[in-house]
Symmetry: C2
Subunit: 167 residues, 2 copies
Amino acid sequence: MPSQVSWSREVRRFIEAGGNTTHAFGLGRLIGRMFALLYLSPKPCSLEDISTHLDISKASASMTIRQLEEWHAVRHVPVEGDRRDFYEAETEFRIIVKQGLLPGIRKKLATAGGQIHRTLEAGASAPVSSDHSPAEIQIIKKRLRTAANLHKKLDGLLSSRLIEKLL
Amino acid sequence: MPSQVSWSREVRRFIEAGGNTTHAFGLGRLIGRMFALLYLSPKPCSLEDISTHLDISKASASMTIRQLEEWHAVRHVPVEGDRRDFYEAETEFRIIVKQGLLPGIRKKLATAGGQIHRTLEAGASAPVSSDHSPAEIQIIKKRLRTAANLHKKLDGLLSSRLIEKLL
DNA sequence: GACATCGTTTAGAATTTTCTAAATGATGGT
DNA sequence: ACCATCATTTAGAAAATTCTAAACGATGTC
């Protein structure tokens, strides 16, 4: 039955595409491959299932699965009479985005925003500089205020309920 | 004048924070440092200005500046009687997002979406598989349709004018 | 048209990140 | 209590990325 072959080939490609996608967004390749595998698994997978299917070590599987857990992208599910850890994918993307991704993004934004404000305050207490004319100082301050304003807007946007409505 | 010192120190920190931010989002550290430098520069910078201020080679400066140009985050500005290349930061974040970042994100999403559809189609023409029961096949197909639907929603969201209104 | 200066390319060095094997810790079964 | 089995930690190997120096090409100057 040749059609079966093309199906499993397409599944492998799906998994690799998942890896390429997360990698393209700077999240590492393994995390996407692993989520894709679990997402297409109707039944929970053990760590060894994962490491053999993805051809990685159990150590990698363990570390990556915990990253996925932090993002609420994967759930630990107990299996009757088996003390191994089994995992299944969270299929509600809304939950992954709201509880996993957005808090991480907001945290990163907060770090950046903090520095913008510190720079702005340092500029307020040091109005004269040797290598900038007064007019240039004004330009710099204006840009810092623009950046602070953008940061505020972005943070408000991410914390609003707008996003979950759209998903 | 000690306040001057703390100002320039805060500027250096601003630049490093810019680098850390882009790095956290998987874009490399240099690109953020360079944009931060140009964003706080009231007058255009030459490549050598940049490489000395950031303490990097001219080669790195050249490659990174072109990446920033692709994202419409930086503009090439001619300077009277000087054949060197000068650059200034785009201060309209709306332009950077709309013309620079969003197209790149949509392109990455399109790659992922294409594979979702291919997998879905392969599943349609290969309804029977040796390692999955019919009920499981149905679950997998449903999940693939959910993923395809999410992809469609995301792409629509990014291509709508909603985002520019929010910035 | 030769020289000087600047930007780009590229081959490979340096750094960072990712991955693994082995050791360790933990837990259930007998 | 001991053994077997599983997950985690960690130190270092492997791989990927980032950066640079040197060579090159292009362009303006004298």
